[in-house]
Symmetry: C2
Subunit: 331 residues, 2 copies
DNA sequence: TTGTAGGCGTTATCAG
DNA sequence: CTGATAACGCCTACAA
């Protein structure tokens, strides 16, 4: 079926295409009668504006690019919702790409986005905090605003929001120490900038609370068997508390520990990170470090919208995380 | 910073824009020397092609529109991943919108997508199976392929994949009956076409296994307090087995039941639907009806790619669900 | 208040 | 093999 254009509408209405354009864009100086007529013709036809042509003419696509390593990572779906929802409310469409975690690939996606003439970019996750991405931003999109969730790049057009996860994890250690746990181990999945900081926080905590012992950190895969194996190794080695780098790992840990007949929190305490929706309904419920992912995405949206509307925004905002205490550490 | 165009490249290379275009698009009849020269100039500059202009000229945006009621619904994130990932692999970009569940609003999004000149549409969830959406498809995108996950519209350009959830839920009832449970109740969240079918399946099962009793269905909110309240009402009313319309509800149910001191599956059996990743790691692990969401999205992608490449595809595919038995029903 | 004409950056046709 | 030139559909001075 042939697309119908403003010229078709113009012809039927007995006016010029320019007038149709004016009506569509709500220009003021159009005679009411003319306006009504054009609007009537439009509503009687199946005309829809061609945003490709409009974008080319106005040099404005009203498209936002969203980059995420893997959209399936549960802790980020809320963020994606907020972005797509809020930007939609402001007349933008959102293009979403899964980049994976290879910096070179991530950089390619930035170039790809630039071919689509996006008007802003959002990158979700600390994994985008690397030199390749930074260079690509400098090279391909130096003039369009970039928002980063939980990551930071020191560039004029980049706006970052991060949580102090290092301090947050240190506080987790403090909490466990105060409850009498003596043998605390940290299990991390793949080492992103964010996860590296969390580990530092863990070391800070151990050094502070147990000056004589050295911090014990295990790096584990994310699959159920991986996590179970790591967990059992640690428990059989006399650990009485485990901090996992993510709720998803912790939930698997919970499952393994409970299945093995050990009691939580009497035998082992468990803490996760992200305060995901499942931490509240697991058995036992999971104490979790809320790293403010929700507030982070809201903040990034605000910054970006502000800049897009010609305003300004802070280049870095640091949020304070908060431990949500539940049954897995005792009440 | 001014965008650099093929004219700029052409000037520097001492050729015409047409030749640059030929090089970019890998045309054959270009003298190797010329080609090299142009490519060198391009790589020395920050030139990227303007896809908006290209789309206008070629009448092809290579953009796919994805519609989902709420991107946060956990059972659909895998599907979204597959779509964005697969379409990217085939050179398409994906525009994602949250439509909500109001049919009139959903229809508006179809019009919106048509203004972006998308080349295919994916709708995820049975909630899009309604007349308003059907009319909007007919009116605004009668000629572009539409893929539906778990929903069906009887139109020439719509390709659907659904699971036989009705039969699946009936089988769940049979399973519980065979294990000796006598008082089975069904808890559903909001009534979508899919959820309505599940309820029918439940009634089928009850009528078949317990001809003398009438099916007991409860419609509940999705929030934790809602689900807990519904669950306790039912249990206090002598139910010995509950089928929830979604794993997410069932997981909350599990939490409430366990917290109240009742034993699963001795006192109460529980079955969920979706076979989500958490059903395998909950305590106890959750028996769940796998409604083949994964296979559904793969199938829809295949159909759409086939049609986009000029091929054909079945308009309706029905997948058989499968019960994954875990601890919440006894082994 | 309205129409004409040029331009947005590419692609594609047609000569040469 | 390469260069003009005319679309693609819309917007926007500039004129009228």
């Amino acid at each position: 079926m042939e697309d119908i254009t403003i010229y078709d509408i113009a012809k039927k209405a007995g006016v010029s295409a320019a007038t149709v354009s004016r009506v569509i864009n709500n220009y003021e100086h159009v005679r009411p009668v003319t306006r009504e007529k054009v609007l009537r013709i439009i509503s009687e036809s199946n005309f829809v504006i061609n945003n490709t042509a409009r974008s080319l003419s106005t040099q404005s696509t009203r498209i936002i690019g969203i980059l995420i390593a893997d959209i399936r990572t549960t802790q980020h779906t809320d963020a994606i919702y907020h972005f797509t929802h809020e930007f939609y409310n402001h007349g933008y469409a959102c293009l979403i790409y899964n980049t994976g975690s290879d910096p070179a690939k991530q950089a390619e996606f930035i170039q790809l986005l630039s071919t689509r003439k996006i008007e802003a970019v959002v990158m979700i996750g600390s994994i985008f905090q690397n030199d390749e991405v930074s260079d690509a931003v400098k090279k391909y999109i130096p003039d369009i605003p970039v928002g980063m969730c939980n990551g930071f790049l020191d560039l004029e057009n980049v706006y970052s929001v991060v949580a102090d996860e290092r301090g947050g994890v240190r506080d987790c250690v403090r909490l466990l120490a105060s409850k009498g746990y003596r043998n605390i181990v940290y299990i991390s999945n793949n080492i992103t900038p964010s996860n590296a900081l969390k580990i530092e926080g863990f070391k800070d905590g151990i050094r502070e609370c147990f000056p004589s012992s050295s911090p014990s950190v295990v790096v584990s895969g994310e699959e159920i068997p991986d996590v179970c194996r790591s967990t059992f190794e640690i428990i059989n080695n006399d650990a009485d508390a485990i901090i996992y780098s993510e709720d998803n790992l912790a939930l698997i840990g919970l499952h393994c520990i409970v299945s093995s007949g050990r009691r939580i929190p009497e035998d082992v305490a468990v803490i996760g990170i992200n305060n995901s929706r499942y931490s509240g309904i697991s058995n036992p419920s999971l104490t979790s470090l809320d790293n403010m992912l929700q507030a982070t995405s809201f903040n990034v949206v605000d910054k970006l919208l502000s800049v897009l509307q010609g305003g300004s925004a802070d280049h870095l905002t640091v949020l304070e995380p908060e431990i949500v205490k539940r049954d897995s550490t005792g009440r």
